[in-house]
């Protein structure tokens, strides 16, 4: 038995627990049976958004006026955790890229018109969103963004390209960071909710140049997108011009926290599956769980797992209770959870021996899925830069 905090009343009310129960049942019955197929296809079906949406799973933490349930951030944690139980990392990533990474900022700073046009249908899963920041030459370094938006009357004209975009091949709206003032570095960034289907056959000038093949996260699509003189109405500007960096600082901490929570669940499932395997697999006449070094390794992993979960949950609470996001704690939680998850999955694969290298075992998928977590959403190296700036005054 691996001790767990997922039912702890200090974090989860009965309402949360009911949400979790329903979602878990849905994942087990409606997602698990299909993930092998989705992994092979390189994409889960877009209908999944609708199915999740109509059951209210997407809007847990969104205001009721936006079509959500008005709950707290722990509803998002539950979404991240329970989707993780389908053991296909791409599913959780794709859904969260839509419902949290892409949508959150629109809900926070979008005009009432955009709430109606985008947020409401998106929470029902009828529109698909994506967050769209990375470029071929600017990953963690947002100041280096080269895609531009130029004002032209009531329109903006957008040129450039974006890459590593989760949901990128099918998103209806791209929550996109661009430069409205190239000379200004951080202070020239603006955000748009870029509509990809403005014109019949797709917004003119917008192309999915490539669907990127990745080492893992196979059930999620990833796009390389190009923008060639795309004209979009001015209303799609989010908030004010050139305030994009501020919006990132303020609103994107939730994304990192969600990455931590997702990683924790991926670590936990790795541990659960591996401990089960160790009780079934015999070698040299003993069960694997009887070997001291493997037991001690499990103990080390459990200790780190619990530490990471405590850190993430406590940080969620802090995040909910403070007006400015606790950037230091969130960066630490993100870095620790993703590194821990990656290490745990690597060691768990090792315990599985040859079976761990076979595509069909869960642990092999979880291992390659987890490899992305220390790179995406603020790489470990970037987290260290952030943390060191905050602790070394």
């Amino acid at each position: 038995m691996i001790p767990s905090l997922t039912d702890d009343p200090q974090y989860f009310s009965e309402e949360h627990r009911e949400f979790r129960r329903q979602l878990r049942k849905y994942v087990e019955n409606e997602i698990v049976p299909h993930v092998d197929e989705w992994e092979k296809a390189g994409m889960f079906p877009s209908d999944l958004f609708k199915e999740l949406g109509k059951r209210g799973f997407l809007g847990g933490r969104y205001p009721v006026e936006h079509g959500g349930s008005g709950g707290d951030y722990f509803f998002l944690c539950i979404l991240a955790e329970e989707l993780g139980r389908c053991r296909s990392g791409g599913v959780s990533m794709g859904v969260l890229a839509h419902t949290e990474f892409g949508l959150n900022i629109i809900s926070k700073i979008g005009s009432p018109e955009l709430i109606e046009e985008i947020v409401k249908p998106a929470l029902l899963g009828e529109k698909i969103c994506a967050i769209c920041v990375s470029e071929p030459d600017a990953g963690s370094d947002v100041a280096g963004i080269k895609t531009t938006a130029k004002r032209d009357g009531d329109y903006y004209v957008i040129n450039g390209s974006k890459t590593f975009i989760t949901n990128g091949t099918r998103a209806d709206y791209l929550t996109m960071a661009v430069k409205t003032d190239l000379a200004k570095g951080h202070h020239g960034i603006s955000f748009f909710a870029f509509p990809t289907k403005l014109d019949p056959g797709g917004t003119k000038g917008f192309h999915v140049s490539k669907s990127l093949k990745k080492i893992g996260m196979h059930s999620s699509d990833t796009g390389l997108l190009s923008f060639d003189n795309c004209r979009i109405p001015r209303k799609y500007l989010l908030g004010e011009e050139n305030k994009g960096f501020y919006y990132i600082m303020k609103n994107f901490q939730g994304e990192r926290l969600a990455a931590a929570v997702m990683s924790n669940m991926r670590g936990r499932i790795g541990l659960e599956d591996t401990w089960k395997y160790m009780g079934e697999r015999q070698i040299f006449g003993k069960f694997q769980k009887q070997f001291q070094v493997l037991r001690h390794l499990m103990a080390d992993m459990v200790a780190r797992q619990l530490a990471s979960e405590c850190m993430s949950y406590q940080t969620v609470k802090l995040y909910m209770n403070t007006s400015e996001p606790p950037t230091k704690e969130i960066s630490m939680a993100k870095m620790y959870a993703t590194e821990t998850c990656q290490w745990i999955n690597d060691r768990c694969l090792q315990i599985h021996g040859g079976m761990g290298y076979i595509d069909e075992t869960y642990i092999s998928r979880s291992w390659r899925d987890s490899r992305l977590s220390t790179i995406g959403g603020g790489a470990t190296e970037v987290m260290k830069e952030v943390i060191s700036k905050l602790v070394m005054k």
């Binding site: 038995m1 001790p3 103990a299 200790a303 630490m332 870095m335 830069e385």
Partner: protein, 380 residues
């Protein structure tokens, strides 16, 4: 972590911090050099009320509770000497508390008030030359003779051992084995047959008077038993868990103090034409250290909460002891490294923090033992 303590606990920490920095820290270098701290230090701590934090008011304590004790420990770690902290924490954090919880009324009346005043000092006798982390194999022997227990055996690595006025001895009734059949006896120093066979010189913890105690036909009055006959081990399990939590908590505090020192050092010291703090490597190492401290704190906080609420705390306490002590060891090593050659001199306290702390992954149940505990929880 700040939301962990109540306002009163923070006040206590402030008071203690002032006391430590003014009255203790300036004398530490001397004590460390000679290995001798005056025993009267207990009275000085007592005068501030620190020795009664875990003791009910009727016996002269403040009964401020375990979290208050942790807040107090945040302060005493600032002495930069684990030996000072260990001596105080063993006496006031563990031994006196066990007496208050388990002893008979006459014994409580006799022992606790002077303990709280710092007039007498207690020790805990668990480890034996051949039974360290493996208490099930301890052999110190006890048999009943009329109104007395007769005690024979040797206890070693005993903090406060050389100067203790009384020691709680975990011993085995004849014919028992494993974790069953142990008694916990309070033995006073003046008992005939009790002796301190030697002081054990250690790599760190120098002022803590680590000693080896010998019991040769020591006759202990029957009323000196703590708790029930044969349940000695079971009765201290909660105290051992508390010790693990204290050690995890203290480890992180040591790491934090070291990191503060280090950030100051790297900001001032220049190499290759710029402060060491300006090197990316330095910054990333510090980020990693700070993260491990913060994460460890989150774990300790949860573990302490569960321990105090008598909720399932075993896995959390073992995880906290394992992870925080190991991580602190790594952090202290990195801090020493960032001090360069200066870190290796006796002139900077980082060397002492580093070498003092090395015992934390060995004492109070080695890291290996914590892993065993965790693995057995998985078996359930």
């Amino acid at each position: 972590m700040e939301d962990f303590y109540s306002a009163e606990e923070k006040l206590l920490r402030e008071q203690a911090t002032k006391f430590i920095l003014e009255k203790v820290r300036p004398r530490v270098e001397e004590w460390e050099k000679t290995g001798e701290m005056p025993k009267s230090i207990f009275k000085e701590f007592a005068a501030q009320g620190f020795l009664g934090i875990l003791v009910p008011e009727e016996y002269g304590g403040s009964n401020a509770g375990p979290k208050a004790f942790l807040a107090f420990s945040d302060a005493f770690e600032l002495s930069t000497s684990a030996g000072v902290g260990a001596a105080i924490a063993m006496h006031a954090g563990i031994v006196t508390r066990l007496v208050a919880e388990l002893a008979s009324d006459p014994i409580k009346k006799k022992i606790i008030p002077p303990s709280v005043k710092g007039d007498i000092v207690g020790a805990l006798g668990l480890t034996e030359p051949n039974a360290g982390s493996d208490l099930a194999s301890l052999t110190t022997n006890v048999r009943r003779e009329g109104d007395y227990y007769v005690l024979n055996g040797t206890k070693t690595f005993i903090t406060n051992g050389c100067w203790c006025d009384y020691v709680l001895v975990l011993c085995r009734q004849e014919g028992t084995k494993g974790y069953e059949g142990m008694n916990l006896l309070l033995v006073e120093r003046n008992s005939p047959g009790f002796s301190v066979s030697r002081r054990i010189e250690t790599l760190g913890w120098r002022p803590s008077q680590t000693g080896e105690l010998v019991f040769e036909n020591v006759r202990v009055p029957a009323g000196n038993i703590l708790g029930k006959e044969g349940k000695g081990f079971q009765q201290i399990m909660r105290a051992l868990e508390w010790e693990r939590l204290m050690m995890a908590h203290q480890s992180l505090r040591k790491a934090e103090i070291a990191l503060d020192m280090t950030m100051k050092f790297v900001a001032e010291r220049e190499q290759f034409g710029k402060p060491i703090a300006a090197f990316q490597n330095t910054r990333h190492v510090i980020a990693e250290c700070a993260t491990r401290i913060e994460v460890g704190r989150a774990l300790v906080k949860e573990a302490v909460k569960r321990h105090l609420a008598h909720e399932e705390s075993e896995a959390f306490a073992a995880s906290a002891k394992l992870l925080c002590c190991e991580d602190a060891q790594w952090i202290l090593d990195r801090c020493l490294q960032l001090h360069g050659g200066y870190g290796y001199t006796m002139e900077f306290p980082i060397q002492r923090l580093w070498r003092d702390h090395r015992l934390f992954t060995i004492g109070g149940g080695t890291s290996e033992v914590q892993r065993e505990i965790l693995a057995r929880i998985l078996d359930r």
